[in-house]
Symmetry: C2
Subunit: 411 residues, 2 copies
Amino acid sequence: MKKNVLVIGAGGVAQVVAHKCAQNNDVFGDIHIASRTAEKCRQIVASVHEKKSLKGPGVIEAHELDAMDVEATKALIQKAGSRIVINVGSPFVNMTVLSACIATGAAYLDTAIHEDPAKVCESAPWYANYEWKRREECAKAGVTAILGAGFDPGVVNAYARLAVDDYFDTVDSIDIIDINAGSHGRYFATNFDPEINFREFTGRVMTWQDREWKINKMFEVRKDWDLPVVGKSPSYLTGHDEIHSLSQHLDVPTIRFWMGFGDHYINVFTVLNSLGLLSEQPVTTAEGLEVVPLKVVKAVLPDPSSLAPGYTGKTCIGDLVKGTKDGKSREVFIYNVADHKEAYEEVGSQGISYTAGVPAVAAAMLIASGEWDAKKMVNVEELPPRPFLDLLGRIGLPTRVKEGESDQPFA
Amino acid sequence: MKKNVLVIGAGGVAQVVAHKCAQNNDVFGDIHIASRTAEKCRQIVASVHEKKSLKGPGVIEAHELDAMDVEATKALIQKAGSRIVINVGSPFVNMTVLSACIATGAAYLDTAIHEDPAKVCESAPWYANYEWKRREECAKAGVTAILGAGFDPGVVNAYARLAVDDYFDTVDSIDIIDINAGSHGRYFATNFDPEINFREFTGRVMTWQDREWKINKMFEVRKDWDLPVVGKSPSYLTGHDEIHSLSQHLDVPTIRFWMGFGDHYINVFTVLNSLGLLSEQPVTTAEGLEVVPLKVVKAVLPDPSSLAPGYTGKTCIGDLVKGTKDGKSREVFIYNVADHKEAYEEVGSQGISYTAGVPAVAAAMLIASGEWDAKKMVNVEELPPRPFLDLLGRIGLPTRVKEGESDQPFA
């Protein structure tokens, strides 16, 4: 049993991860939280104590760490005796944290694909640009590295695996749908790091259609859904991490991702993007100061974690899978509904952070128990989905399955 | 006769001023152009030669100058032997350039009110915050300083004076209307320095109504006009320089300023302003860089002078004056229509720069001739309007007067 966990990052998702690890510290042992700003880690530790989240007596400690520094990260893993590293920091640090894990033999997991701050939307499949180049290295060292173990990517990959294995003989298409029907009451805000959020939408939209990569522009293709709980929801075809692994691991001709956006979000995004304010390339002011516009936009927007107290409403994220079973066509929607206010009451974060953080902890628990301790680099759809979904149901993100008029809890 | 002119600034308005001075170098003698970036001045000089704008053989020279530096500005005035300084640089340099003029005895004129980079919309009347504090200093030195000698403020002040003197016994209201019905073909651009442009609209809207300052919010009060040439035009109540002198110098109970805006401009402005991106107060990025958002917005927007080549359409700016004459109520619209393409063909700038720059040159010519050499600080409405309007008619900005069905050139 792998013990002692190191959480990297101190944003809204890290807050959820810390609380959930604390709620399961019989599994995890010591909990360490590290980020560039130690104060933010200390606030998370204080919040864990305040909400009495620790299941039993145990260690929870804050650390200052520049996770771009492999040696410093290795040293902290060793000092803390951590055998599992949950990386929910900026996606810019994924590769350096992975290096530290390989060097120390600790298991690694993250919730979003690695990014280079200077590039947007590289060639498909994205995982081949950085992560998969290191598969052999992980296998050789016997190090477990689980990529994209949040909700999307993460839980939706497990839903896809489940559908292919248990619900269908052949799958024609998987449409992953992510709707946030919540309200934060601000003029405008992003639900996670604005820099990362906007980067998702400034590049090309790449999707997998008829076994080929297809390119669209953002907000070019709209589809309106009628979903459980959240009701009628407009969404737009969006490029997203999980398409880049599911398309390579599952025999499914069409895999698309749809993200829900309201008109107001699209208007603000369009204005900022059209003006060049979402660019990751520096501009020079009249006074000669070199500055990246996107970083200034991030600086003026609300800190996503500040939205949590007033956030109301629900999210609905799931996989709409179409195919055939026993010679008949079949359509199944496998999904979860989460509530912003309940998330805040439990762990002090809003629903978007909750849905990303809880699966990472579930995956870490399965590494600890050995069920997902793969000793190599894997994406979530390469692992058995049932233990993951069962555990998620117990720790806060129950799965439901809708087929025709039937809408049942997954069991 | 005052000779030799120094133009401060190298933007679109300075380009117009340089060409118009060159076209009248029999009046002006040597022409010097100075700005922070000497290269921009050299480009203007090259454009003057290219368009063969010099009326007769003469000097036109470019200089590098930090106009915030009084001593350097004095030295250049003395070296160039300039007796008239046309300040069309940033409104942040007005007071330092004025100091250099007072010290050297050169006449001063500008086209916009002085601003402190760190403040927006100070107490009314605005001219009392900086300019009018120096009236005695100018009078004592016998230095002519003409404030706000562009189109608005400037020509519209002369229209107001003319109306009060010649067209009415009593004036009830003056509505100054500024409509740009032109099109630059870009997603979004401002017609002059974005920093100055946006600053006009981020503060409170102050207008003079029933002999009192009245406060509104920007885009709160809309009025649609049906104007000569440009036709139906939506406009919004806007705070503007000229209200702050006309209200003090003319016996008119209500003086308002209306600027034309399309829905697209308002949407972009509202998004940027609501997010805090138009703030002149610095923010700090996650990386610790301190930066003024408005300066970054300026850096990503098109350089206003780059709009000129493709600009089409017309502007209409004028004073709608209501009052009584010989016991009867009367309503007169005194106005000018300018054409973007014609301006570009003549002087290489678009119409907004043209309407701001030509009046400054006309005012300078009247200083040179002695007609407007007031030997003290004045606003345009304190000077006789007819010589100014006559001269403007000859050098490119003819005035028209509309009353009922009659619409005649001013004579």
